[in-house]
Structures are given as structure tokens and as C-alpha cells.
């Protein structure tokens, strides 16, 4: 079988689980989860250095060169703030990738679709490899792809909620309609959630809280990774189709079955 890699910009990922790095109990647990998952891409944020006291980032213990680093613009409330964070991230010299995140609502942290599209246009023009985190809206994803996004990253549910896929119809429609890879981001709570979207044909998933908040994050990272691989394999194998229009009782062969005895019919 041909190599099955997720192509994003200049990289090809064998593991289709993109790993978050926030809210882990410790840098050691984060490192263990990354290793257990086999992930090749991790997402990180741009933040002010603590001027006093411990300046060390929890990433300091990691060999970032072992991964494709996907910086995000978490914390941005406008397109301009997202663009500024993206430029700062690229100036680290670690990555030309950017995951656009622009909060549109403080309560739910759901993304601002308009600012996300504006930031996508600007950052594509500046030569970034742009992967916008966005609402689970088909038309928006088409517009993001048209604007030059390398992949679209619709949220399954609000960030950190672990609610799973709230709108399966929309996520499936995006997977089917988007001309660029669909990576389901945010809200996936269990490996089953991840497997399900991969079975539908998602190109990958991004998981953070579902792993970081598990009782044993490293074991959960491995479970998510296995689920993503299983879902992908199932998608490639071609799922047996549901046949609701044909009723539910006609799935076994009927021809050639000996007829009931005439004497028994009465």
C-alpha cells in the first residue's frame, strides 16, 4: 500500500494526532504523553517571558526539533492581534506554520469566523502555512480554503469542553466538501470521538484537554493515537454502508432458501 501521510505544507505526518501542550500537570507528564502518542506535530503558544523569577518555558525540557511546531495565536481577540502573535511566533525561527485562533465570545471561547478569515488572508499573503481553527461551518471552511488555508480546523465542541462532536452533520459535510484537509480540533473528549471523525474521513485531529486532563495523560495519549490510527484505517478500508432507505431487514441473502413445506402452510 502507498504511504499514507498527511501532507501539510512542506511536511508529511504519519501520525495524524496533533498534540496540544497546555494544562499538563508537569513538563515531565507532557513529555511522557508526547512520547506515548508518537505525535509528530505539537501546538504551542506565544507568551510574555516572566521577567522575574523562573523564566523557563515548560517546553525547555523538550527537543522541539523532533517535532513540527504548530504555534497558535491563542489569546488573540482580533485579526490584528492574531497577525501580531503569528509574526512573533515565526520570529523564533522554529516554524512557518500558524494555527489561527481568534476568540469571538469570551464565555464559550468559540472562534470569531470573520476575524479568522481576515487573519487567514493576511498570513497567507505573508507566506505562513496557515491552519485556522474555526467554527463547524461548511461555507466558512470553503472560504478559508479559498483564502489559501493549508487545512481547516473546525471545532467539534467548545475548546476544553471534551463534549465530543456536537454537530456530526456539519463536521461530516466539511470533511466531504473542503478541498483542503479537515483536521478536527477542540472538544474531542475520548478516543472514540477521535476514531469517529477519522472514520468519516477527517485528515487528522488535534487533542489537548482530553489528554492533559485524563487521570493518566500518557496512557490516554497512547489511546488517542491508537484510535486515530484505527479510524484512519477504517476510513481507508471503506465502511460498510448503512442502508436506511432499504429498510433494516434485508441484509442477508434470501435467494435459494428452501420454501416452507406446503403441508406446513396451513
Amino acid at each position: 500500500m502507498a504511504e499514507d501521510k498527511l501532507r501539510l505544507g512542506a511536511v508529511g505526518l504519519t501520525c495524524r494526532l496533533i498534540h496540544g501542550a497546555a494544562r499538563f500537570p508537569s513538563p515531565e507528564v507532557l513529555a511522557a504523553a508526547l512520547a506515548a502518542s508518537g505525535t509528530e506535530m505539537i501546538t504551542v503558544a506565544v507568551r510574555r517571558l516572566h521577567l522575574d523569577g523562573d523564566q523557563r518555558s515548560e517546553l525547555a525540557a523538550l527537543d522541539l526539533s523532533a517535532y513540527t511546531v504548530l504555534p497558535n495565536t491563542a489569546g488573540a481577540r482580533t485579526a490584528a492581534e492574531a497577525v501580531r502573535l503569528a509574526r512573533l511566533a515565526r520570529a523564533t525561527g522554529l516554524s512557518d506554520f500558524i494555527k489561527i485562533e481568534v476568540v469571538g465570545d469570551e464565555e464559550t471561547l468559540l472562534p470569531d469566523p470573520i476575524a479568522t478569515l481576515e487573519a487567514t488572508r493576511e498570513l497567507v499573503a505573508e507566506g505562513f502555512t496557515v491552519m485556522p481553527y474555526c467554527s463547524d461551518d461548511v461555507a466558512l471552511c470553503l472560504r478559508l480554503a479559498e483564502a489559501g488555508a493549508t487545512a481547516v480546523m473546525p471545532g467539534a465542541a467548545p475548546i476544553g469542553s471534551t463534549l465530543g462532536v456536537l454537530n456530526p452533520f456539519n463536521i461530516r459535510a466539511i470533511i466531504n466538501r473542503s478541498p483542503v484537509p479537515t483536521i478536527v480540533d477542540a472538544g474531542l473528549g475520548s478516543p472514540g470521538d477521535a476514531a469517529r471523525v477519522m472514520e468519516w474521513g477527517a485528515a487528522g485531529v488535534l487533542v489537548n484537554t482530553g489528554i492533559a486532563n485524563a487521570r493518566d495523560p500518557a496512557a490516554m495519549a497512547a489511546a488517542f493515537s491508537a484510535a486515530v490510527a484505527a479510524g484512519r484505517a477504517a476510513y481507508l478500508a471503506g465502511l460498510a454502508e448503512h442502508r436506511p432507505e432499504g429498510g433494516y431487514g434485508a441484509s442477508s441473502p434470501k435467494d435459494g432458501v428452501p420454501a416452507p413445506l406446503a403441508s406446513a402452510t396451513r
Partner: protein, 100 residues
């Protein structure tokens, strides 16, 4: 208190007072900056690199934005900080999602 103690314990209080005054005047000539949103001071003529060394920034992966413009690392040593400069000193941290 420290000044009173220094003067009272000194063999030559006048000389010590002059020294303290010179130190104070030097300090008052320091530039006021905003660094990561906080008010900070540094002596005139301090370069960006000198300032970072002064506050103990040693790690790699730091990006400096000065008055909204990202500075190339190679330029840090040659750029002198000016009064009212706004510096952002940032780095990458763990983060997959936006948390309030």
C-alpha cells in the same frame, strides 16, 4: 534607613553622602521603559542585548518586539534603548487552546 545607617556608621559621612547622592542622580537619569507591560528602568546607553543580560535572560528562543517592530537577534547588541520604549519579550510555551 539604609542611608541613615550608612551615614552614621561611616568614618567620613560627608564623603559617603556625596557617593550616595551621585548614585541617586545617576539612577534618576535612568530611562523609563515599559517591558512586558511593566514599568522598568535602565541606564542611558543600554543596548537591547545589555538590557536582557541585565535582567538575566539567557535562554534561546526569545523574540523581542520594540515599539511594535520585531528585532532581529543580530541587531540586539547595536540598538540602544530610548526613553518610553515599549518592549515585548516573548517565547513559546505549552498551549493548544485558549484558556481564560
Amino acid at each position: 534607613m539604609a542611608v541613615v545607617r550608612a551615614l552614621s556608621q561611616a568614618g567620613n559621612p560627608q564623603e559617603v553622602a556625596r557617593g550616595l547622592r551621585a548614585e541617586f542622580e545617576a539612577e534618576s537619569s535612568w530611562l523609563t521603559l515599559r517591558v512586558n507591560g511593566q514599568q522598568r528602568k535602565c541606564p542611558p546607553g543600554t543596548s537591547v542585548r545589555g538590557y536582557l543580560d541585565g535582567i538575566g535572560v539567557v535562554q534561546d528562543g526569545i523574540v523581542i518586539e520594540r515599539n511594535g517592530e520585531i528585532l532581529k537577534n543580530a541587531d540586539w547588541a547595536g540598538i540602544e534603548l530610548a526613553i518610553g520604549d515599549e518592549l515585548e519579550v516573548v517565547h513559546l510555551v505549552g498551549g493548544g487552546t485558549t484558556y481564560g
